[in-house]
Amino acid sequence: MKRYVYINDDESSHELFCDNRISNRKYTVLNFLPKNLWEQFSRFMNQYFLLIACLQLWSLITPVNPASTWGPLIFIFAVSASKEAWDDYNRHLSDKKANEKLVWVVRQGIRKHIQAQDIHVGNIVWLRENDEVPCDLVLIGTSDPQGLCYVETSALDGEIDLKTRVIPAACMGIDFELLHKIKGVIECPNPDKDIRRFDANLRLFPPFIDNDVCPLTIKNTILQSCYLRNTEWACGVAVHTGNETKLGMSRGIPEPKLTAMDAMIDKLTGAIFVFQIVVVMVLGIAGNVWKDTEARKVSLDLVKSLYAKFIDWDSEMIDYETGIPSHATNTAISEDLGQVEYIMTDKTGTLTENRMIFRRCCISGVFYGNEGGDALKDTKLLNAVAGSSPDVVQFLTVMAICNTVIPIKSKTGAILYKAQSQDEDALVNAAAQLHMVYVNKNANILEIRCNGSVIKYEVLETLEFTSDRKRMLVVVKDCQNGKIVLLSKGADEAILPYAYAGQQTRTFIEAVEQYAQLGLRTLCLAWRELKEDEYQEWSLMFKEASSTLVDREWRIAEVCQRLEHDFEVLGVTAIEDRLQDGVPETIETLRKAGINFWMLTGDKQNTAIQIALSCNFISPEPKGQLLLIDGKTEDEVCRSLERVLLTMRITSSEPKDVAFVVDGWALEIALKHYRKAFTELAILSRTAICCRVTPSQKAQLVELLKSCDYRTLAIGDGGNDVRMIHKLISVLALVEEKGCRLQEQLIIVLESSAFLSQYSFYKSLVICFIQIFFSFISGVSGTSLFNSVSLMAYNVFYTSVPVLVSVLDKDLSEGTVMQHPQILFYCQAGRLLNPSTFAGWFGRSLFHAIVVFVITIHAYAYEKSEMEELSMVALSGCIWLQAFVVALETNSFTILQHLAIWGNLVAFYVINWIISAIPASGMYTIMFRLCRQPSYWITMFLIVAAGMGPVLALKYFRYTYRPSKINTLQQAERMGGPILSLGNIEPQPRSMEKEVSPLSITQPKSRSPVYEPLLSDSPNSSRRSLGSGTPFDFFQSQSRLSSSYSRNCKDN
């Protein structure tokens, strides 16, 4: 369970722990072939082809040369194997580079330059600025006198802001010369992949410090693959090395992911297999009846009379091409993109800019910033600051120091703040503008400058903000008067309930409500003076808790809870997080396209609803309806869940936008106890807002939808979304601004992949049917009409090149799609091989096979019926037909399409002329002979006319008289006229300030809390006003319906 790392002990750890050689390789030279083959053959399709190929080795039952199957099989395998090998080689190269990088390590008390791979657990590693961290280290010293250093962790969690790391208290102040000789032991857990936790203890051996145990957290570590920034040097003890580091444990090469199309192909292969068996049985019996003189294994003969096996070999190859490289990291998923049904999005940083601006505040019941929309310019507040009103000063003090921000003095004297959270940054900056400047942090001593005087505080304990606790805690000691003060900052429901008994929290609740309506992020600030003995007592408990190895986080939280009571609530801050450009339009578009949208956020319910409203996430009344699921107990949640579900079922037929809102607490209960009901709700609901959710809940939700077989796309940027995204098939980090672009890609990918599979199905079936028909006139013996070379070329060359280009085909221009996003929804319905399109293509291939076969055998009867000639005539017929089929299915012809379709036809002749010029080939002179015959050309035109005429007529008829939605738009688009759509997306007013705020601000005191009757007993009951005199306390407002949203609409 634990490992003991002895610092600077060169020998002992070598056997116990691995060295620092990292290896991302999937294969070695020896196991490459078997492992890769095993992986490839774990797909049903490949197994099937192998079976076929093996059957072909038995020459008795094989009508064609085994090479016609083995060739493509080996080719395909070689392509994917070499791709894997190349990837692996590149991984090996980068590993090697990382392994051989030189680093400074202390050995026998001397600093040495060694290769990174030779680092052992217990070594002290020295890093300089901008160095990459070679393994997981526990910091023991930095160039910074306060023991701080900055790391960039983007390789680890994708967050690009710098994080501060600090040396453990025990190492504080050790002279840097002595660091070489430091000895001690670190008791740390076994390697795991949690990059947010490191619960360990450090004990230094004399003479450095007494035998005290010093707790270590993730703050004291720097992990592999991070970069040291803004710090001259840092040194640390290697605790995890090689592939045992946090990064190494969470690494692992993802197994190849099966996309929807792959799965479909596998299913199709299965269907073909069954189809083959049936045909084999039927024809086998027929063959035996026909030739009863010889008992033969006719049934097996016929296994090979079918060539449906070639289906999708080409599409398999195309996989590499379809990856539209603009934003997908995994090319294979691009086709899944077209089929996304659910999009789960994070709010902050994804929908919004993540640029926080302090806008308003409410201090001791006085609202600031309501008039101008900017508290920093509010003269009332400025006056209060100038007049040193104690409330305001306290408030600003908390704003300035209750955080983990680090001020850095730049050379020009200006103070820059290094903050991990944008909210804190906004608060500290705002405080600074209000003359409460956080100047310096020196070890544990904070300096703030207030109206010219410098106040110093000693930080005693800090407990950072966690999304579970939803508040942060700082205990400081005022250096002037020695008073110990507890400062806290957090969500309203995490602060307000702990206010001291006599305090009126009413105004704060109202402030929070009001700000939330404006879509602002609110934080409550509170403080409490601690008595010396109370602090001492608690401090001991805190120390103990923070050095436990098991459940440390929970224990600390529990201990902190003991201090958190009798708060004096100082006020509420409101921070604006502006929406990103184009977000409302994008969401509107995607929603019209029939994609379900869920917003998962850690924000307050009202804030979330406001944001949702302003970005078109939910429609305002009367079009939209909002249902709320809440409750504190199982029963309550259950009841409200059922009610929502009932309403949902009833309204699902109405053209109404129904969305449900669930908060983290209710979600927890719902997921735990009422999973089934919640799942049903999830399926019914097109829109959902989940507020106050934790990262793990986000992941659970994604999992839930995935388990219902929905294709889900998760969008997020922050570290808290990593878990959610990891749960997905499709790992995508998308910038929302790219939304519009994504949209077009969706429809293109969607259509082309559908056509691709239909087409490969079609062209294989044509050949297959011709072979079956031919077997009827060849004594059901299973003779192949086509020779092996032609068959192989037909499948891997003649018919795949045009399709490759069809990938680039566009049904509609982007403009049209953007105007009629609903079309996407209809596309989703008609995609892939659903039974009717399947039947259509099946019928078409049957018809074409009949056309080719009948015309060929009649036009080339009697003296012209020579085998090679006839086979070439039939093959050319197929090639001509497929060229026209592709041409008919292509919607827009660019030069590429023309090249591919007609160039391919020309190439067919050129290739066959070349083959016909080789005396050794079976087809010697055949093509020249045919091309000289007028009857050949007449036959070709006859085949094309007979094959395409009815198809064209049918298509035209449907196109004109039974047009699909796409057709109508295509027509409209190409007529060039104005495309009218009543569902036009108008630019939505986005600024919350302009539209929404006047409504709620004008009457903040007298507004009557009108509750939306959504959850009233009868779903159809009309709205019911509870009047303004209704008891209105915090919890009730929480457990009742949230209605700010409907209220707005009513006011509108």
């Binding site: 003969d301 019209k592 053209p655 031919f774 060849s778 004594g779 013996s781 003779t783 680039l808 566009k810 009629h820 015309i855 055998i857 009649h858 036009a859 009867a861 009697y862 003296e863 012209k864 019926s865 020579e866 085998m867 919607n891 827009s892 012809f893 660019t894 030069i895 590429l896 079976g922 010697y924 002179t925 007028p934 009857s935 007449i938 036959t939 035109f941 006859l942 006319a945 007979a946 005429g949 064209l952 007529a953 035209y956 196109y959 004109t960 008289y961 939605k965 109508t968 738009l969 295509q970 027509q971 409209a972 190409r974 007529m975 006229g977 495309i979 009218l980 759509s981 009543l982 569902g983």
Partner: protein, 336 residues
């Protein structure tokens, strides 16, 4: 110069950009009634004349067909034809009369036609060795020739079922007591003679085994000159086929009666195959074959009919093309 280069470079870059953005200039044909009706009209106007020309060519060909497999078996053996054909002691010669009903211009092609003869059966088709035909005994691997592969341990030249079953009826033609000259040279493809059948390969042990199949070959003549064999080895893809026997290089007049003296050696009786003798002239299109002509006319006229139907439909149910108000979501918002 540099400017031009840069210009070209830029153009290429732009083209590539357009490609990656999938916005190359494109032509987007739309199935408008006008276009479709024109296409069908056009098809009709092309295919009907082509069909008529083709039919005319086919009709210009004069063809005489005479089935002789039953008639050439003496009455006494009609019940058991197989014993007749397998009995070497019975003479197989037979005379047939063919009446020329129309003037036939030289060259007149002589074909023998076999019906219900599955030369395309898989095991039959495979039973040959192209390499042996070209290289003779130098090529040893004749495993593909099964079941007619070896004779007393030595590969048969030529080996395989196809060669073994060589057609061996022979015909002579007499018109007014004078024998018509039949040219039996150059009946096989020149490419086969030059490149597929060896000039030094002699069929020294052909048809020497216990099971005698069809025709025998003169061991002195190399395979490249055994034209009957070369013709026979070009297997047919259909169960009814004609193979060239020779050419009569004199014109035949209407009402000429031609006496055919034939040796009815070939056994098609055991599987119910039919044998026919065909005399035919040829046109630019080949032999007599009405199919292409008929098919063209049918396709052409149905295209015309379709064009007319579509025109009428278009006139009657004139539907605004590309009217987006028909889209369901627009319809909904119209009504709601």
């Amino acid at each position: 110069m540099a400017d031009m280069n840069r210009e070209r470079h830029r153009t290429r870059e732009t083209a590539f950009y357009l490609f990656t953005q999938q916005s190359l200039p494109a032509c987007k044909p739309v199935l408008t009634p006008g276009w479709v009706i024109t296409i069908f009209l056009f098809m009709g106007l092309i295919f009907i004349p082509v069909g008529l020309i083709t039919l005319r060519a086919s009709h210009s060909v004069v063809e005489i067909v005479d089935r002789y497999d039953t008639e050439c078996v003496p009455e006494a053996f009609r019940i058991d034809k197989i014993s007749y054909i397998q009995d070497d002691s019975i003479p197989k010669n037979c005379s047939r009369f063919m009446k020329v009903h129309k003037y036939m211009k030289a060259p007149i092609y002589i074909y023998y036609q076999l019906d219900n003869y599955y030369q395309n059966h898989r095991r039959y088709v495979k039973s040959r060795s192209d390499k042996q035909l070209l290289h003779g005994q130098k090529y040893h691997d004749t495993s593909s020739c099964q079941p007619v592969e070896l004779n007393s341990g030595q590969p048969i030249v030529p080996c395989g079922l196809i060669a073994w079953s060589l057609f061996n009826d022979s015909f002579t033609f007499i018109r007014e007591r004078a024998e018509l000259k039949v040219n039996r040279k150059n009946i096989a493809w020149k490419s086969d003679r030059d490149h597929k059948f060896g000039k030094n390969v002699h069929p020294f042990n052909f048809q020497n085994g216990t099971l005698i199949g069809g025709g025998k070959l003169n061991p002195k003549i190399p395979l490249s000159d055994q034209e009957d064999l070369i013709v026979w080895m070009r297997t047919s893809a259909l169960p009814s086929f004609r193979k060239l026997y020779g050419r009569i290089e004199e014109d035949l007049d209407a009402d000429d009666v031609i006496v055919v003296n034939l040796m009815n050696n070939y056994n098609t009786y055991s599987f119910g195959g039919k044998k026919k003798l065909v005399l035919s002239t040829s046109s630019w299109l080949g032999g007599k074959n009405d199919f292409l002509g008929h098919a063209c006319v049918i396709i052409g006229s149905s295209s015309l009919i379709l064009a007319i139907v579509f025109t009428l439909l278009h006139l009657k149910y004139r539907r605004p093309h590309g009217d987006t108000s028909y889209l369901p979501w627009n319809r909904k918002s119209l009504s709601g």
